[in-house]
């Protein structure tokens, strides 16, 4: 290998209003997918609604699930306007190559080697092929991606066919000589069967595969794209997504649909979740299966709608009033969204409880190329009335799970109630009934065997150090293991897919003889840490 070839390369694309940087990132990722590479794309935006400065961060690799980017190999800018806004997100090094359009203006001070500027504007004016695509062609050439793939992906994306002149220009661009020092990607080890998916889509897929057929929701960043993905697909499967007037309607519509026997969900982000706690509490009391996807963003309040955080843990665990046991799960990475979402549906249907699925902006809006994701299994059928005694909706049972009828079923009529109730659903204030139902609602969760999905673990069983994380930080913790190993630290990463009901005994067992346990979380209040201690 006389040439500098690598299994992983990281490229940052920058530009301001209307430069098409977001699109360029998507096209690059998909073009690489077709060549057989894996990859990842994240984006960052300025405050403008549209047309502000944009950065696309693309990582390409020959193996899936590459570790977090620690340094960019290539930074390419169509213009540098307000690019300093991204400086904190853009680690570079002496080997980083920086290339910009000829008229990009003054760049921020980035460590790296500046390459010859690219003159793109005139050709754009002459051929109509925009600078973003020309830049992409240059990069594809340098990275070793093919013109054919690029043309296919771009014409699909822009719903257009490129004319002769455009093709000729792009062929020319892709042949732009590589400045020395720009590394090449190793040849791909993979066909073109891999998937191009983001966390929102992977979540939606799992929900549908497990059986969700009704959704009601109100748009909110960063959950909107999940809803937009679901809407036509739900309809295609004979279901429906209702755009509700607000989050109070959303959660209660989902409750109504599920009461009707149809697996139902809503999705939102922090502000919406805060509004839904009364409805979630109703689902707890009336024992209605329900999935609430919370795509976390920065808080508190309206907070930072486009940024990621894990600080909605406590509200998800403890938001509804009263003793309101329910289930909270979190996907341990983007590809895990499908399995965890499917699991959420299964748990909801089986345990007749609301399940909050804690996604994150960082999972939801990160697009990856990955091996095909296994389908989530269909949720088990709800416990059905047996018919041998007068039907009691809230009958006390050893497992705490009472058979659940649905309207239309013969002779199992009942009234679901959010007031405390007797076993047949009649409201009561009697202490004995309250104790019975409270303990039933708690027991059905505490006694459930959540199985292997509860926690994930990677690393030696007898490791000295255990890193505990959930959500998007589990892959981060895993990536840290090899670094720790090289530093001589024997470490293990434990990922919490199941956050509630708490599993102190299982966790203690999992932690084994670790001498040191570190909780890794993205919350200023150390929410997970305090929760695990309680």
């Amino acid at each position: 290998m006389s040439e500098d070839t690598r299994p992983i390369l990281a490229v940052a694309l920058l530009g301001s209003g209307g430069a098409g940087i977001a699109t360029a990132g998507e096209i690059l990722l998909e073009t690489a997918r077709r060549a057989g590479y894996y990859g990842k794309l994240t984006r960052s935006f300025g405050p403008q609604i549209r047309g502000g400065e944009t950065a696309s961060f693309v990582q390409l690799s020959i193996e899936p699930e590459a570790p977090p980017i620690s340094r960019y190999d290539l930074v390419a800018a169509l213009d540098w306007k307000n690019a300093e806004r991204f400086a904190a997100e853009l680690p570079t090094g002496p080997a980083t190559r920086i290339v910009a359009a000829a008229d990009a203006g003054e760049g921020p001070t980035l460590t790296g080697v500046v390459a010859e500027p690219l003159a793109l504007r005139e050709a754009a004016r002459n051929t109509g092929v925009r600078e973003n695509l020309q830049l992409l062609a240059v990069l594809c050439g340098w990275l070793g991606l093919s013109l054919g793939d690029l043309l296919d992906v771009a014409s699909q994306r822009f719903r257009t066919r490129f004319g002769e002149a455009s093709r000729a220009l792009l062929a020319d661009r892709i042949a732009t000589p590589r400045p020395t020092g720009i590394p090449r990607l190793l040849p791909p080890e993979n066909g073109d069967g891999s998937w191009n998916i983001n966390g929102n889509e992977a979540t939606g897929l799992g929900l549908l595969q497990a059986g969700i057929r009704m959704a009601a929701a109100y748009p909110i960043t960063p959950a909107t794209e999940l809803l937009e993905w679901l809407s036509p697909r739900l309809e295609g499967l004979g279901g429906l997504l209702v755009q509700a007037e607000d989050e109070l309607a959303s959660i209660n519509m989902a409750v109504g649909a599920s009461f009707g026997g149809v697996p139902a969900m809503t999705a939102t982000s922090g502000p919406g979740l805060a509004l839904m706690h009364e409805g979630i509490g109703l689902a707890v009391a009336a024992e209605i299966p329900l999935v609430v996807v919370n795509v976390q963003r920065g808080g508190p309040s309206t907070g930072l709608p486009t940024k990621s955080e894990q600080a909605d843990l406590l509200t998800a665990l403890f938001g509804p009033h009263g003793d309101a046991p329910h289930v909270v799960v979190a996907p341990l990475g983007i590809t895990d969204c499908t399995a965890t979402a499917g699991w959420a549906v299964s748990l909801a249907e089986q345990l007749q409880t609301p399940v909050i699925l804690q996604s994150e902006q960082r999972l939801a809006q990160t697009r990856i190329v990955c091996p095909p994701i296994d389908a989530a299994p269909a949720a088990p059928a709800r416990a059905r009335p047996t018919g041998d005694t007068p039907y009691q909706r809230y009958a006390d049972t050893p497992a705490g799970i009472s058979p659940i009828a649905k309207p239309g079923d013969a002779d199992t009529r009942y009234v679901a109630d959010g007031l405390e109730h007797d076993q047949d659903g009649t409201p009561t204030t009697a202490a004995a009934a309250h104790e019975l139902q409270t303990s039933k609602r708690q027991r059905k969760l505490v006694q459930h065997d959540f199985g292997d999905l509860a926690f994930a673990s990677e690393g030696p069983d007898d490791a000295d150090v255990v890193l505990i994380a959930t959500g998007s930080l589990f892959p981060t913790a895993r990536a840290a293991l090899s670094e720790l190993a090289s530093a001589g630290v024997s470490a293990r990463a434990v990922g919490l897919r199941l956050l509630a009901p708490a599993q102190p005994a299982l966790l203690a067992k999992t932690l084994g003889r670790a001498r040191r346990v570190l909780v890794i979380e993205q919350s200023a209040g150390a929410q997970l840490f305090h929760y695990l201690r309680g």
Binding site: G193, L237, E245, N252, V255, A257, G260, G261, P372, P407
Partner: protein, 273 residues
């Protein structure tokens, strides 16, 4: 089998917690009459309510039901109907439930025109919480401890708002006339789309003066208008005591029917296409 059901067969054997003389007894009777008249199967009917005295009604019927949250009867009913279009879904509740905390859902249910019947038992008071003003309370009613000088806010006009919001069936009834009311509820259930019924239903406990409603109510004197504006004018001109169906208009029911055509495999396959 269901053809033989009498109104009383639609009643559960639970004892209502209502005060003697409460108007809601009449509404309960009227609903059972309508369901019996329509020969609905008890298994195919669901009553959805909020919280309040009036919202206790589902438990007194021998159908399916959901006694949900204060103000949220309509969303639960909408979710149910959309998921299970073959059911007869009746949303019920009080004036506080429907027009105070539930006002937004009321507006949007009128607009959406999902095939639900919404029966509001209007006693111009929050009965369950022991006598506070509701949106339909007269501005000068001074018996509420929470608003001792009266609300001094003009009262909410349920039928007027329903019309402005686009409800396709709007009627006003009186609980003291269970037969007339039963007929109205029958029409409302049969109407395809969202039907709204404001039922004057006295609260003898916190609004003893409502015992007079018996003599004030004008039965069935609202003329049915298919024109929204004409109906609004009629309601606007009325003193609030005329009853009848004031508006009925068939317009597309939501959601539109056609759905389907995809498989889970199609959906998964698209990630590598």
């Amino acid at each position: 089998m269901s053809a033989a059901l009498k109104p009383r067969d639609f009643k559960s054997d639970r004892q209502p917690i209502w005060c003697p003389g409460c108007g809601d007894f009449g509404v309960l009777n009227a609903i059972t009459k309508a369901l019996a008249f329509l020969e609905r199967s008890r298994d195919e009917v669901a009553l959805i309510s909020g919280i309040g005295c009036s919202s206790r009604i589902p438990a007194y019927l021998d159908t399916y039901g959901f006694h949900g949250l204060h103000g949220r009867a309509l969303p639960i009913a909408t979710g149910l109907k959309v998921a299970r279009p073959e059911l007869t879904v009746i949303a019920t509740g009080g004036d506080g439930d429907g027009f105070s905390i539930g006002g937004n859902h009321f507006l949007h249910a009128c607009r959406r025109n999902t095939d639900i019947t919404y029966v509001v038992m209007d006693n111009e008071v929050c009965g369950m919480t022991k006598g506070q003003a509701s949106p339909t309370t007269h501005p000068d009613w001074r018996q509420a401890k929470l608003t001792p000088g009266g609300t001094q806010i003009p009262s909410f006009d349920p039928c007027g708002i329903a019309l402005a919001a686009g409800a396709s069936f709007v009627a006003r009834g009186f609980s003291g006339d269970p037969n007339g009311l039963a007929k109205m509820i029958t029409e409302a259930i049969v109407h395809p789309g969202f039907s709204f019924l404001q039922v004057l239903s006295p609260c003898p406990t916190y609004r003893p003066e409502q015992k007079e409603w018996k003599s004030q109510v004008q039965r069935e004197c609202l003329d049915e208008q298919s024109e929204r504006a004409a109906a609004a004018a009629a309601i606007h001109a009325d003193n609030g005591f005329s009853t009848g169906i004031v508006h009925r208009l068939e317009r597309p029911v939501w959601p539109p029917a056609a759905r389907g055509g995809t498989t889970l495999d199609d959906i998964a396959r698209a990630f590598s296409a």
